[in-house]
Amino acid sequence: MHELPQQLANGLILGSMYGLIAIGYTMVYGIVQLINFAHGEIFMTGGFGALTTWLALPDGTSIWLALPLMLVGGVLTAVLIAMAAERFAYRPLRGAPRLAPLITAIGLSIALQQAVWSWYPNAKDARTFPQIPGGPISLTSSLSIQRADLFLLVAAPLSMVVLGTFVRKTRTGRAMQATAQDPDTAKLMGINTDRIIVVAFALGAAFAAVAAVAHGLRYGQVDYQMGFIAGLKAFTAAVLGGIGNIYGAMLGGLVLGVAEALATAYISDVPGMHQLGGGSWADVWAFVLLIVVLLVRPQGLLGERVADRA
């Protein structure tokens, strides 16, 4: 069992990334009851936005100097694309049957992938992403953390705190809560719900872009398809945690990440399960977990409101 601390750390790091992306799904769902399946691609464009910023900087710029700028570049790109998507792809369909915006989301997801594939220079293969130099940091003999992951370990909790404070303390945040509870009444109370919806899309995109930069730093590459699997996992995390609940999204992400890591490491050691373990089965076990949780708690781990709303 001497791998356990390391596998837990792997899971938490991976889960933080899922959680950051999942916030976008859950916020949009909480307010407009739309599963924005293009969110994975918004995440991807955030990665390319950050890469573009890096390429625009002069050669030899220190990564520490470049990282904040890349974050700004990535967040800006993702937010602008998400806002445009909301304005031109989703708003015209507001009030339409729910399947219509869902199909639009799938179409948008394919369109964004193909747009990056065909127009971003050399994006037909994976593009390499700048790296934080230096080896792993050993905490104990059996636990070491890579430098790139420190970014995620700081960014994920920080984002959660910022988001939580924003939703609870600011006017816009409270307006978001009101809109989520009852859009019609919120409108009657003078809340500009259209603006609130845009804010929800923009916030989700911003967190996705942070996750995309973390993804680039961690895996050293971004590619036009990276949003597909990451998006699917994050959606799973959002449902697992209770869709509509921002803390649920992060918790769902962490649970999913840890479950994947542990399934890879330990399932094959269970007697008789040798065939069902290993890295390639991680996704299967993650979804088994999702099904079990939904059977026992249909609203997800932290979902309370969903039962009567969705």
Partner: protein, 410 residues
């Protein structure tokens, strides 16, 4: 509750749709060269022209294009003009099967070069064989494609007589790699990883057999998925297993990041693999941490062969935007083998194409023998290349250097 079921339904539909969209075909790329006087014979190409493996696929397509242009310019087959029809399989067996049907339907197609992936080849072989259309792969290395399911136990049965390849098989490549790892690199403890694809699983099994026979130990095994990005769990297992080498059966889009993440986590052991890993993109994807990683690849290095120098010069002169990659020379030879087979068929029929040209080309292919880019090109009774040379490459800086060239002795 109506909305809840809608949520579940929409999630299911969307997941399915996204999965489908991920493997949808992305158009085909047709090119025709030369004038249309006389008979036009099309050489089909099936390779991953887009997607993760496009670096290898475009190399195949361009090399065939070059062969066709030269065959036309030199009038190798009098009265016949060759053209190329390249289809994209995105490394997906389902797309490969569709492309095969499409190529069979085009009556002017007398031979197909491709595919890159052994798994894709499995989905195409029967379609081509039913139509007696010859298929020459420059890159498939899985032994079962030519020698049947039970090749390992010595019962070699050729499943499809229209299938040929210019590449060497994993039954030779795997053991050749194992001998290098054990005898030359002095590695004794291996951790095996494969991507569950036909190619990767077969290669790892072949490596494992020879490595353990030599006295090496397998300290762990794991499997990954294609398109996987996060290998942290596998890396942790490799580190704690005490392995001194990792053998990876699969392609560079996963192998590169795996190597990079392994080195980043502090494991100073090389990753070794087969020809699917040997691309410059591998070194990039490992973020410059691939130094010392090894691959075996089929044939002698194209750059060092005298016969290949002309190919390299011509390829550069033709101005293709992508490099010829790992299989360029083999693709050129595959296309030329089809040209030679067509030539033999036409010569047997008083200078004209017979009505059952496809079946005749299949028969002629078995007897083809000429000096190609990669050496002598001819096929044995299973459709395998008679040229069984292999090379071990090692990453030095940002490129692959030759570590050893040889012929597998068994």
């Amino acid at each position: 509750m109506r909305h809840r079921s809608l949520l579940v339904l929409s999630a299911t539909v969307a997941t399915g749709a996204l999965t489908l969209s991920a493997c949808g075909s992305r158009g085909s790329d047709n090119k025709s060269d030369g004038d249309s006087s006389g008979t036009v014979v099309t050489i089909g190409v099936d390779a991953p022209i887009s997607g993760d493996l496009s670096a290898l696929g475009l190399g195949i397509k361009n090399s065939v294009d070059l062969a066709v242009k030269q065959a036309n310019a030199q009038k190798i087959v009098p009265g016949v003009t060759f053209k190329i029809k390249a289809l994209d399989d995105q490394a997906q067996p389902s797309s490969g099967q569709q492309n095969a049907t499409q190529l069979v339907a085009d009556k002017s197609v007398l031979g197909v070069v491709g595919p890159l992936n052994s798994g894709v080849a499995q989905s195409m072989q029967k379609v081509f064989d039913d139509a007696h259309l010859v298929e020459v792969s420059p890159a498939n290395t899985n032994p079962t494609l030519t020698q049947g399911e039970n090749f390992a136990s010595g019962q070699k049965v050729r499943p499809f007589k229209s299938y040929f390849r210019t590449a060497t098989t994993d039954a030779i490549q795997g053991p050749f790699g194992a001998q290098y790892a054990y005898n030359d690199a002095k590695k004794t403890k291996v951790f095996l990883v494969d991507d569950k694809q036909t190619y990767g699983v077969g290669l790892v099994a072949a490596f494992k057999g020879e490595f353990t026979k030599l006295g090496g130990k397998v300290v762990g095994e794991d499997h990954v998925n294609t398109k996987q990005k996060d290998f942290s769990s596998v890396v942790t297992k490799i580190k704690s297993s005490g392995a001194d080498i990792v053998y990876y059966g699969g392609q560079y889009p996963e192998a590169g990041p795996l190597s990079g993440q392994l080195k980043k986590a502090g494991a100073k052991i090389p990753v070794m693999g087969g020809d699917g890993m040997k691309d410059d993109k591998y070194i990039q994807l490992a973020n410059g941490l691939a130094d010392g990683d090894l691959t075996t690849s089929v044939g002698a290095p194209v750059e060092t062969l005298d016969s290949a120098k002309k190919f390299v010069t011509d390829y550069k002169a033709a101005g293709y935007s992508d490099p010829y990659a790992a299989y360029g020379g083999y693709s050129y030879d595959s296309a030329m083998a089809i040209v030679q087979a067509v030539k033999a068929v036409v010569a047997d029929n008083n200078g004209k194409l017979p009505d059952d040209a496809r079946a005749k080309v299949v028969d002629a292919m078995g007897k083809v023998s000429f000096d190609g880019v990669t050496g002598k090109v001819s096929f044995d009774e299973y459709g395998d290349a008679t040229n069984k040379q292999l090379t071990v490459y090692v990453v030095k800086g940002s490129s692959w250097a030759v570590a050893k060239t040889g012929t597998f002795a068994g």
